[in-house]
């Protein structure tokens, strides 16, 4: 059987703040298999971006990353910076959310696409140029020769995001982390980028971790999804199961707004979490303040991430479990939940 490409164990990210540490991500564990496309969904502040960037130790200097990240069996978090650099860009590529700020304004996009190849493959700029041109045309950019000489501010939003993707794919990484790749774009462009990612997914033997706040985007591309809330994973499962039968109340609130959701909506009574919810973590379930079905046990202790039901399969080689972090499912209380309130 194949080994997982990425195995994350107990990942934690803490940010140093004036008032002490603030836990952005706490105890996250998951695996990504080769060629698999996994979604990581959560609202702003849920820790999804911190979690994805911490895989390569790219959080700012104030962020402390804990836990283990095995890439192809190597624990890359324990590597010295010098060796970790060999993974960044080469084994794992990253697409960022806002192409305008994540591209260097004073360098031509050509240089920015070529530099990871020059760095990792030790090839000449001339050789890198060939591949850069190829990548740009693969991204559907016409007159790539001219584009190579342009600066980010001269490009439109859609082209910038394509440049960003070319950059991440430059060294043919084995894992692609895409952090909200469509969020900054207009609706019709989002669609184009999703289609582009779908094509890339079919053409390259690359695994993708797609980070997004939008379950619909994830649904378009992913096999499997993990839902985060308050720095924790609250539910995981195959994308179809999640849409058909969301277990965690938070997941349910996300799925309910989907136009295709056909069941009775619960409607969350609670407001979105007050902005400091992470510095002031409640005892018990983190979702309790917004949950419509909160009971006494939810306020006592935090539920664990529990495996539910049998194994799911991706293709026929990788298996996974459905998991949920909610008291309702801790003691086989499944039936109770089936009836809408």
């Amino acid at each position: 059987m194949e080994k997982p490409l990425l195995e994350v164990k107990d990942l934690a990210v803490n940010f140093k703040r004036e008032e002490g540490f603030f836990k952005a991500v706490e105890g996250i564990s998951f695996k990504i298999w080769p060629r698999e496309v996994v979604g990581l969904v959560g609202e702003s502040g849920s820790g999804k971006t911190a979690a994805s960037l911490s895989l390569l130790n790219l959080t700012s200097s104030r962020g402390k990353v804990g836990g283990e990240v095995f890439f192809d069996g190597v624990n890359i978090l324990t590597l010295p910076e010098r060796k970790l650099k060999k993974f960044r860009g080469r084994q794992i590529g990253v697409i960022f959310q806002e192409p305008m700020t994540f591209l260097n304004p004073v360098l031509t996009i050509g240089v920015q696409i070529m530099e990871p190849m020059v760095e990792h493959w030790k090839i000449s700029w001339g050789q890198a140029r060939e591949r850069a041109l190829y990548l740009l045309s693969e991204m559907g950019i016409k007159d790539s020769e001219r584009r190579m000489k342009e600066y980010p501010h001269q490009l439109s939003g859609g082209i910038r995001q394509r440049v960003m993707i070319s950059m991440a794919l430059a060294c043919s990484p084995r894992l692609l982390i895409a952090d909200e790749p469509t969020t900054a774009l207009d609706v019709t462009l989002q669609y184009q980028i999703i289609e582009l990612l779908r094509r890339i997914r079919e053409k390259t033997p690359m695994a993708i971790l797609l980070v997004s706040h939008d379950l619909e985007v994830v649904r378009e591309l992913c096999d499997r999804v993990m839902i985060m809330y308050g720095g924790r994973i609250v539910e995981t499962g195959g994308i179809r199961e999640i849409f058909k039968d969301p277990l965690h109340p938070y997941t349910r609130s996300l799925v309910e707004v989907s136009p295709s959701f056909e069941r009775v909506a619960w409607r969350l009574p609670g407001e979105d979490a007050p902005f400091s919810y992470q510095s002031n973590i409640p005892a018990g379930c983190r979702f309790q303040h917004r949950c419509s079905r909160v009971s006494r046990e939810c306020k006592g202790a935090e539920p664990s991430l529990k495996e539910i039901g049998g194994k799911g399969w991706i293709g026929n080689s990788f298996s996974f479990h459905r998991q949920v972090r909610c008291w309702k499912y801790q003691e086989g209380a499944l039936e109770k939940d089936e009836k809408p309130l």
Binding site: L58, G89, G93, V94, F102, N104, H153
Partner: protein, 316 residues
Amino acid sequence: MYPFFSRRIFHAIIVLLGVSLLTFVMMNLAPGDPYHLDPELRFNPEAVARWKELRQLDQPLHVQYFSWLKNMLQGDFGISLVHNKPVWELMMERVPATLLLTGTSLLVSLLISIPLGVFSALRKGSFWDQVISSFTLGGVSIPNFWLGMLLILFFSYHFKWLPAAGMRTVGMEFSLLDYLKHLLLPTVVLSVASAAYFIRYVRAGVWEVIQQDYIITARAKGLGDMTILLRHVLRNAALPLITVISLHLPYLFTGAMLTEYVFSWPGMGRWIVSATLSRDYPSVMAINIMVAFLVTLFNLVADLLYASFDPRIKYR
């Protein structure tokens, strides 16, 4: 790109015209008439009238301004009331000395401040960063004329290593070493404040750049630290520094004036003080115009440099 250049040059011309107008207004605010200082003219109305006619002082103000401006453009700044020599000649004797001093210290302070500032930003909060920050605080706070006196006390009077005054040893034949020796202390004194000021900006600028999203991108590509620093950080941090230098220039001249005074450096700074004390208005105004002209010129060059380095401006 060319519209930007021509507009910028036009702007500089407008500023210079404003400068000349302001100077002209100040000159006309001068109490009494300059000829009052001349005992021969003082009690001789006919001579006064002739004197006035000669200098076109009987014309309306705007005519006077334009003829003054015309003269000035031809290098005629009038006659010094004290030295009885054309101001232009006096200026040509002194401008090079000031430019030598300010130029050297600008260069020195940049050579010191860029590496220190970059280092400080990369190691923000470290022991050495704090040492450098303390130095910059002292540097911007210390009155440079006092610093000059202290240095003279130590290096000239106490240790007798370096000369305390002038540009060269009087009566000695030209020697580069002698020049450099004379230049050393004034340069140090003048550079301290500028270096401190530049370090702060370089530090803040580099720190800001390394917070930017595109630095995360560069790191995510697995680039080496040196590549990131040189290609991604410094290129972006260097641009604002050009502006900072040009904004700092007037302060450099102010510092030069005091430094020249302390070290008896034969430049414009010392001259404007003596000219002011002796109410030699043509000289005072000429110096003002000259300095403002130099600053404007440098600002213009800085802006054009900035524009040709920053792709975002080039295409506007």
